[in-house]
Each structure stands twice: as C-alpha cells, then as structure tokens.
Amino acid sequence: MSFVEYGDTIKDGDTAIVFLGHESMFPVKVQHGTVTQTKYGVIRHSTDLIGKKYGSKVTCSKGGWVFILHPTPELWTMNLPHRTQILYSTDISIITMMLELKPGSIVCESGTGSGSLSHALIRTVAPTGHLYTVEFHQQRAEKAREEFREHGVEHLVTVTNQDVCKNGFGVSNIADAVFLDIPSPWEAIGHAKSALKAEGGRICSFSPCIEQVQRTCLAMEEYGFTEINTLEILLRVYNVRTISLQIPDLGKAAEDNSSTGFDSSSPSHQDSLCANLQQGTVQFKSGVPLREVVGHTGYLTFATKS
C-alpha cells in the first residue's frame, strides 16, 4: 500500500480505513499483534487484516462486521487527525484542476496544516513531480513529515519549517504552481512569484474572508499576475429516499360510489381510483438535501504568472 499506488492485500505497516457504516470510518495502522476496538467488537490485525484483500468484509469479535478499505487521499481527508482546519475534497478538486496539476508538476504549498491537501497534491504529481510544503509551526511540520513517511510518499515531498511570508518557499524558479492557505496571503505573493518558473505558472490562494481576498487580488495585480479570478465552490449532497405522500380525501370516493348505480360505463376508471384511495398514498423516489449543509468554506483566488 501507498497513497500513490494501489496494492491488493493488506500488509504489516499499512494505513487502512475501517468502514463501519454510513460516513462512519476511521484509519488504522496495521501492525502484527495489535488489536483495534470497534463498536462491533475487536479486530485482531495479525489474523483479521494482514494478508486479506482490500475491500474485504472482516468479522469482528461480537459477530458484527466492517469493511477494510485501501487508503486514498479522499478517504484520508475524511478521517485524518485534525491539527488545524482542513480543506475538503470539493475545494481540493477545483484547486487541482485550476492549478493544472498532473504527473510531473512541481508544487509549492503553505501552510501544510494537517496535510489534507498535501496528500491529494502528492497523489496527483507522482511519480515524477514534487511538493515543497512550508509550515511555520514546528510540531505540525514534524507530524506531517512522520505521516508522509508512514504513507510511503516521503520521496515526493519536502517539508520546510519556516515562515513563508518572511522566508518564502526555500526554492526559486522551479514551481509550476503555488498554493497559499495562510492568514495573510498578500504578504507571500512576492515569494510565490519567485518560486514559480520563469516561463510562468499558476497560483491559488484560499481565504475565508472577502477582505483577505481583496488584499490578495491587489497584491497579485501589483506583482503582474494575470487572469485573476475568484470563485467559490459548494457541494450539495442528496439522500436518496422513497417518499410517500398521502392522497387528500376530497369526498370524491363517496360521490363516485353514489353514482355507481346510475353510470356503469367506466368501471375500470373507478377501480383504479378506489385502489388508489384504499392505499391512500403515492410513492416516489427523491433526492433530499441534507438538513444542514456547508454554506461557506473559503474563496479561491486563481491567477497566472506569464
């Protein structure tokens, strides 16, 4: 297993995702002799996991079962231990496409935070690209390094512990793209420009507040970035349900019944109506929006250096 390469079977040292049911899952580090507790009972790694295929159903001690899934950046995003606020897959997907990332791309990122976006970036630029990520918080930088090692992607990423606004990305003229998720991105635009290749590249900045966006856009213009574009993307998730709505009683049945004696020319019509009324409901499938949804994550500002 690695985050950039699928494997068939679960091995010692892998990070796997235990899937319990709807949106309920957690990551485990597979280790010989270790056990994991779930609400359906105990999972013994040596016998229940190692050697099994990813996607298998694993029966726990209480008779309940779970599925074991191969890790992907998207599953990781939903399960990772938060050290900061993170970016979710909806924003990540548009960032990846708008920054034109692909295998071989060189990307600069700051800050690393909890590594949610980092994993997705590494997945996309592998096997020939590289991620230079800058995190000014020493403990977070350490933790990120450790995770990248565990996930078998350390060769694709360099974590630097410094302040990007003061010291930049530690590289110059090599990046195809730069991503900023820091409180004052406008202070890092100059460093971003020098990190990008001489022939140009793309930049993206993520900010929750419009005032931050405003200052960032001005800074981008000042540094000669073009195609400056701010957008916001939101995900709407639907639950699939069978809905039944009651038929109101408008007294039509009684009327129809009373007329039965007089008019017998349309018995079939009456039959169907009666059947409907007996049931009293109409059923249909619907995609129902969730009761509460994410209304805002952040504004994404993209621009081109050319």
Partner: protein, 461 residues
Amino acid sequence: IREGDCAVLKRDEVFKAVSVLRRRKIIFEKQWFYLDNAIGHIYGTTFEVTSGGNLQPKQEGEETTTEAKEAGTDNRNIVDDGKSQKLTHDDIKALKDKGIKGQEIVQQLIENSTTFRDKTEFAQDKYIKKKRKKYEAIITIVKPSTRILSTMYYAREPGKINHLRYDTLAQMLTLGNIHAGTKMIVMETCAGLVLGAVMERMGGYGSIIQMYPGGGPVRAATSCFGFPKAFFENLHEFPLSKVQSVLCGTFSAEPEEMPLLEEESNGLSEEKQQETEEEPAAETAMEEQDTMDISAEGVELKDSKEKENKENVREKQMKQWERRKKLKEAAALLREKNADGLIVASKFHPTPLLLSLLEFVAPSRPFVVYCQYKEPLLDCYTKLRERGGVINLKLSESWLRNYQVLPDRSHPKLTMSGGGGYLLSGTTVLLEQGRAEGSSSQAPKLEEPSSKRCKLQEFPC
C-alpha cells in the same frame, strides 16, 4: 509555440482550440488572422491583431490611462438623450477602416463623450473597459489543459459534453482518485473531453480502457490536448456491445469467426466505421475508391491491378489483424477484473452501464458516474444497493459562484447552479458468495436510519 502544436486562443473569457499551422486563416470572435507570427513565442503571450491579419506581440504597460481624472459623484444630472456621443457610426467605421489602433479609437470615444466627465470614477472605469473589449482586439495564446478545454467546451458546446460543467469534471477526477499508474475504465460520450482529462492526470503511466458505443470512440476533444504519442500506447478501446460476451466468457470465440464473415461480405461495412474514427478520412476514401476500381475495370488493367489489389488486401489484413490484436488485448485487460476505477459520463442511462462495468473493477476502488439529470442516478443508487458490492454511495452536485473583486466593488458575479449535472460516487467492496442471506439480516445495520445519516460533516471553525 511551435508549428503543428495544439493551442487555445483566448480573448477575455472566450476560448477557441486551434492547431498552429502556417498560412492558415483563423476566424475568432469576428476577426480573422494568421498564426504565423505567434510561432516561436512562449505560451501565455498576448497578441494584437493588426491589419492584414498579422499578430503583433503586445508590450506590457502600454496601457494609457485617461488623464481626465475629473469625475462626478452621482448620476442625478445625467440624462439619456442618446446624444452624448458626438461621433457617429460612420465616423467610427471610418476610424476602423483607416486601421487606427483600437486604443486610439477608445480614446477618441472618450473625448467625444459629453457625459464622460460627469460619470463617477467607477462608471468611467466600466465605460473604458466596455469600449476596450469592443475595439481592442487582444488575443492570448495559451497551452491546452483540462482547465481551459473544459471551460471552453462548457461555454461553447455544452450539448456535446452533456452539460458537464468544469467543476463537476474536477470532482470526478478527484473522487475517482485518478493518478499515474492506475488501470482505469472510462465510458464517456463527452467528445473525448473526460478521456483527455483522465489521460492528463495519468501522465502516460498506467492504462485506460475506453468503452465506446457504436462504431468507434469519439476523441475530438482529446486531440485538442496535444498529448504526446506515448500517451496513446496504453490507451485501449473496447466496444460496449461486446461487454456482455466478455462477462459470459463467450467473447474469445468471436474473432476467429470474423475473418470468414468479412471475406464473404467483402468485410468493409463494419471495418470502415471503425476506421473513420481512428484514421484520417482520406485513407478510407482511397480504400473505397480502390475497391470500386477493382470491380469496374478489374479486367482491363488486370496485371497491375491485381498486384495493387494484393497489396491492398494484405494491408487491409494487416490492419484487421492489428485491430483484432488490440481488441483482444483490451478484452484480456477487462477479463482480469482488476481495474482501479470506473468513470462514466454519457448520454445513456447509467444503471445498466454501472451494473455491467462494475464487474471489471477490483474491490476497494472508487467509481464515479455523471448524469445531467438527478432521477436516473436515484434509480442507479437503488439498483446498486440491491446488487451490493458497493459502499459509501453519495449523490452530489456542486455549485460554483464567481466573484468580481475590485476595491469597494466586490460582489458575486453569477450563480451557476442546476446546469452542472449530478454525480453518484462510491467504493467497491468484495461481493461475497451467498450474500443474499447475509445481507438481508445485516443490511439494516449498515444502512443507518435517516436521522443518523443527516449528520453534518464535522466542520470546526
């Protein structure tokens, strides 16, 4: 920019994909020009169209700011009498015909506008921008990418890509965990745009099996990407109509019967269909003519014709053989049933496609289905639940909102909703034998009640 490149022209927010050729007239946004002068410049260079259709690289910082820094505060005294512009239509046309630079025309328009000075600063700005857009023909030549091509297709020909908006395509690539080294199955009727997007993300590593309806895969959009030849080496195609035979295991017998059948019926009808997609049309036309010749004047020029004929037949056989080899290869890849993902974005009903094609996907792999409409995906969701072997099913839609960000004038630009289509995504798991009894008793546990499902994704701020 080199000759023969695939490039994209950009004027404001309008795109057009072209191939760069010498002495070839290109019409874009009501203007015509040649790309000759663009050759040798780097991508992202901005050009101005001059008379005679030549492109001239535009220098930066050339922008003239109107010296008139006078401005009004509101529009209480501005009356729309239709007489504020002192230049007439004919005057403007004359200026244009004289080949005067767009910039100067704009300047003249401003000078001859009686109300310009009374307008607020913001309104002046807006006026200049509008006029510039009209009279200054500035074109940027950019390198094709999924970002640019999907934006272009959604704006220009949404019908051809089933109204798949670019943010939805971005979701598909991420949810499908598309990356180098994977073995993907793609079924699309989006002019090859989705295929191109997948190819870009795989960077030539791994393999793709494109399932196609009818005579052959459509790759009009794919060719706009300008991928290197190597990217096509591991791109396979397989006809949708033969999926069932692969699943039943009856497929292998077919190719052996085909030569006989083809020889009898002169074997052209089916083959030609495929060829039109894969090879330049000219070749097919030539072949067609050859066969006609053979039947008509075959007797007269017997010797030479026969020779040609033989070569022709051999060539055809070679092609057939090659095609069959590729077909077999694709079938073999499918039969391994270990694909790393499935991407569907077509005009067809998604349910039968999913139920069949998921058979080829390994367990613990993502799949994503796009549909312009929500209802077929509701049906698909239900059928997949009945079938089993999938978890984490999610029906979603993304909304995209663009912003105008200017000092003191920031606001949302336009909402795009509804038109971007819907996605159904999920993860495959091992489908167990005798799961019928198992699932009926256990299913309720997995499918949590509605109240629990509504749980909002954790979002600490």
